[in-house]
Symmetry: none
Subunit: 267 residues, 2 copies
DNA sequence: GGCAAGTGGTGCAGAAAATGCAACGCCATG
DNA sequence: CATGGCGTTGCATTTTCTGCACCACTTGCC
């Protein structure tokens, strides 16, 4: 299915005329049209006069929405990509804040939003429950990647070899056994959807984490719940579900329709 | 700089009106507008009647390019992100990402993948000591072609006259001497295989770049390493070698057997 | 309360587009 | 050298958009 008649019923407004063309360019299978689409290709796809399409494409070219290859064929331009990246990136913390708060209120434990920074886990946002004891403010601090549920989540998409590399390089005195344990945890998390760090960072702490993917599908951040192991341990599965549905909501507002790994279905 | 009058001279066609609005929504500083932009905000940003903007936004809303928050304010939406993942060269970004990560881990400096977009250098991917959120994120932004090692790499195959043209056209106040210096750098890079921008973009930054060629031999992207000059300067030759071998691997996976300019042999 | 300012949205006549047809030059292919 | 597909343009007609005035509503502020 490379090209198809996009007979949108309400295809009358100017914006949807533009959209029809952009959609046609986006829907083109790069394997079938490796060099972009010609004016005639687009005209067939949207079911319009080639003269109309020709003029519209020129207009889109001027605005930078589409680009023209050497061959004269058209494709969506990098500028669209840039637009989305800027918009998606800026919104991470803003959109995460209310969702994080809601998650905290649900699980009654402290929650965190982190990103990978220089091979370590950097906490950028945190919401606490009144109930929790810890007064430590983690925002702005980093912890080694191998010692948290967020670290596992942030490395989730990396190749196994890479994960071992990063873990070994991250901590100074990381034993081989530790690294392999970490990898095993990540592998299990890939199936389950969320990571669990049971008494790893601290003998009394338990963390549950999940990766946040941006619109390109890359893991750009991680959300985790952390608290006393004795309190969280009985609810790991339930909390994991809450975490996944929170991440799903966050990704939706970030423009990502990528679903978390191994959707469990429960929530 | 949150909102500004985008008085594009050729802002008459329907498509550019749409683009202006999308630009305004993407460029809005989330710190200033945490909840999206109102109709009036957008109208001010694009310098048009609010009635026009109101109608246009509704149209964009119907197509799914923008979404409306509970507050009634607008933000970019899923349709744009869906288009964006299809924009540019998906093969390139997908294949480059892991290689870029490995390069970063080897040289321990931030690395970038850029393309030429509308006469400027657009950063598409970045790996390395990752964005600490508040740190400037370059992905999605453009810089003038004459101020980076990537710019040099992207223009490497053009004729000298053409390079001077593009440099002079790119920056508004580019001196003749600057342009000629740039050209000299490019000519040296052609012999060496990789470009070096020593304290050009910033008095303390040093960049090393290399062009990425597609199977036709055309330069379609550039990879560069950038960081503090004092830290990189002693390793220019070694880093250049690493860069070239990374680019070679990338080109191989892109289906290109074109060898980089002036293969140095080392790696 | 009540005023003022700001907001999103609508109706309408004139202004400014897009539309579709035909035609042109162009490049391949047979 | 004819053929067919391509991208583009001229032009009269149609359609849409524009900008103004105006309305209804909310917000902040005496």
């Amino acid at each position: 299915m490379a090209l198809e008649q996009n007979e949108t019923p309400a295809a009358r407004s100017g914006a949807s005329r533009v959209m029809a063309i952009l959609d046609a360019l986006a829907a083109a299978d790069p394997a079938v049209f490796p060099d972009g689409l010609s004016v005639a290709d687009v005209a067939r796809a949207v079911g319009r006069e080639k003269s109309v399409v020709s003029r519209q494409l020129r207009s889109l070219l001027e605005t930078g929405m589409v680009a023209r290859r050497d061959s004269g064929r058209y494709e969506l331009s990098w500028r669209l990509f840039a637009l989305a990246v800027r918009a998606g990136d800026q919104r991470l913390t803003k959109l995460a804040a209310p969702l994080l708060l809601r998650l905290t209120e649900t699980v009654r434990e402290r929650t965190y939003l982190s990103v990978l920074s220089d091979g370590e886990v950097l906490t950028v946002l945190s919401e606490g429950s009144r109930r929790s004891i810890e007064a430590v403010n983690w925002v702005g601090r980093t912890i080694p990647v191998h010692r948290s549920s967020s670290g596992m989540a942030l490395l989730m998409d990396y190749e196994d070899e890479h994960i071992l590399d990063m873990v070994r390089r991250g901590g100074s005195g990381v034993s081989d056994r530790e690294a392999r344990d970490f990898l095993a945890q990540v592998q299990e998390a890939r199936r389950r959807g969320y990571t669990v760090a049971n008494r790893i960072f601290d003998p009394e702490l338990l963390g549950i984490g999940a990766p946040v993917r941006d619109f390109t599908g890359r893991v750009s951040a991680a959300v985790n719940i952390s608290g006393p192991a004795f309190r969280i341990e009985p609810h790991i599965h339930a909390f994991g579900g809450h975490l996944l549905s929170m991440v799903r909501a966050l990704q939706a507002s970030l423009g990502s329709d990528v679903r978390p790994y191994a959707e469990t279905g429960d929530l």
